[in-house]
Amino acid sequence: MAQTLYDKIWQAHYVGQRADGNSLLYIDLQLLHEVTSPQAFEGLQLARRPLWRVNANLATPDHNVPTTDRDKGFSGITDEIALEQVLTLDENCKKFGVEQFEINDPRQGIVHVVGPEQGATLPGMTIVCGDSHTSTHGALAALAQGIGTSEVEHVMATQCLVQNKAKNFAINVSGRLVPGVTAKDLVLAIIGLLGTAGATGHTIEYRGEAIRALSMEARMTLCNMAIEAGARAGLVAVDDTTIDYVAGRPFAPKGDQWDRAVAYWRTLVSDEDAVFDQTLDLDASQIAPQVTWGTSPEMVSGVDQQVPDPDAMSDAVQAESARLALDYMDLQPKQAITDIKLDRIFIGSCTNARIEDLRSAAAVIRGGHVADNIKQALVVPGSGLVKAQAEKEGLAQIFMDAGFEWRAAGCSMCLGMNPDQLGEGEHCASTSNRNFEGRQGYGGRTHLVSPAMAAAAAVAGHFVDVREFG
């Protein structure tokens, strides 16, 4: 029977059923960070259980780490509760023998940037992490899912996840994105069409000409936000772009193993006549740069549009949600998106902090300077290696010359667990993934955009259409 890519990976990892009827899925790699692992390690210790397979785990601290004073290591963390959490990860990794990229290791970074960068993420793998943006790794045709802490502990102890198979959702994207429009705009547009629950219970496979034309980094951006459409996992089939990306990375197979792996990876595509439970078709060439105006990623418009009018919405629940959102965001119905004034700029996160994202933002700046009304413009690379690469290419200097702050790697202002946060009432153009109330700081107002749009907004002081900028 014809299979989808998801069906194939599922089948290759299906262990069987427990006595109580629950299905077990084998997990090849668990990524760990400091926030969702301590209770899991504690649970193991209390029950005196070992890790099922130590080498199937890889850790790095990312959520809490400060993006300044990194040369001080642990003592650069001034928040005592955050410090305890980062130290706990360190102790647990040492106690259990888990490989960790420590706080001052050049390979440290956001776990979803680090995995692919190291070649720890491989096509056809099953990957879990106690973080919903684990879907990022699906760009390499790995079935990667965010899980809760009880599941983290369960995978540590059993190498399996208790799970029912999801349904298949095909998102077919024809045409090509126009210059200035990126994978971030594409995925925001998709979420706008589907809604934040549109793909609940499904695994998304992004398909079509527009997807094949995307770089691996752009595919990661796309898969990263699958969860924002409700899907636990997003996937892109293997092609030359995938194989070329993985080749030569530190954890990638070598020699004969490589050839054997590649031969298998080439099969990781949906069969031509595979049946999907749901489909969405769209044309990439019709997509404009996107900006979110509300407090859910589905509340999004083209930059050339206006903030919608809740009174004009036919669905009562949707209208009420929009009213609450506009009140929180302090925006007026029918206000032009380009009239939204900004206070801070954040370029970073597991969505958009890879080298290509930084190149794209730096290209827009072209000698410009951060506008006077912008209190702070941050660039936070996704990993120490991305940071080093950007410095080598002169991108860091472009940012600093333009008035951006150039920081060390971590999750940073995407969720404001470290000191990088929005002040109350401040508007931020952010390349992150969630515009929820208070996400980036208490009372903060987040607008999700691409790196190029964030850079243009930094220079203009408000949103501008990057297609016409400069």
């Binding site: 919903s132 809760g148 404001g416």
Partner: protein
């Protein structure tokens, strides 16, 4: 895990769609390395008008009297009545821990986000998906006091004081797990031989996945 068999209690309403786990428990409390201590911070930015910090008690905070859960009639509620896509966003299990510690043992909504839904079943909190029309009906009655009896074995929600009984669906395997309250890891480790057998074959098929 605490088993879930039956629950009798009254409901409190949260009339918003797409309530995300950042709202259920904000980030500053995720720095804890414990599984407990989150109940005081449930819906923190809505329950209080001041920004909170880990370690603060509700007495030190400024209460938002307009927020529904702060209203006297909903104190002690054990069922949360919610809207579509409840629990979307971050995978943080702290959201379920906070709901449970606050006193909620069940959440009724038209739909739930996947990861939150799964996390509930790991903690003995029962998420019940009912048709939107039924949820609407329950919302319309909640202000007058909505006492419910939830019976997981029978898969029913009964409105006490009326003859209304709503049936709900639940995955049979998940249901069994909730009713027994048995440790999930023990249940899986009982299948160790099955896992080892799979692992041996998997290693032969894809040796590059094993660094050991």
């Amino acid at each position: 895990m605490q088993a879930f068999t039956t629950l009798e209690g009254f409901a409190a309403p949260l009339d918003r769609a797409n309530v995300d786990t950042d709202q259920i428990i904000p980030k500053q409390y995720l720095k804890s390395i414990k599984r407990t201590g989150f109940g005081d911070y449930l819906f923190d930015a809505w329950r209080f008008t001041d920004p909170g910090r880990m370690g603060m008690t509700p007495n030190e905070r400024s209460l938002n009297r307009e927020f529904v859960l702060n209203q006297p009639e909903y104190q002690g509620a054990s069922v949360l009545l919610a809207r579509d896509n409840f629990g979307c966003g971050s995978s943080r299990e702290h959201a379920v821990w906070a709901l449970q510690e606050y006193g909620f043992r069940a959440v009724i909504a038209p739909s739930f986000a996947d990861i939150f839904f799964g996390n509930c079943f790991k903690n003995g909190v029962l998420p019940i998906a009912l048709d939107a029309a039924i949820v609407d009906e329950l919302f319309s009655q909640v202000a007058d006091g909505l006492e419910l009896c939830i019976d997981l074995a029978a898969q029913t929600v009964t409105v006490l004081g009326s003859e209304k009984v709503f049936e709900f669906t639940v995955d049979p395997a998940l249901k069994q797990k909730m009713l027994s309250g048995m440790d999930d890891i023990d249940l899986t480790l009982a299948e160790s031989a099955l896992i080892e057998h799979f692992e041996t074959g998997h290693r032969e098929r894809q040796p590059w996945l094993f660094r050991d």
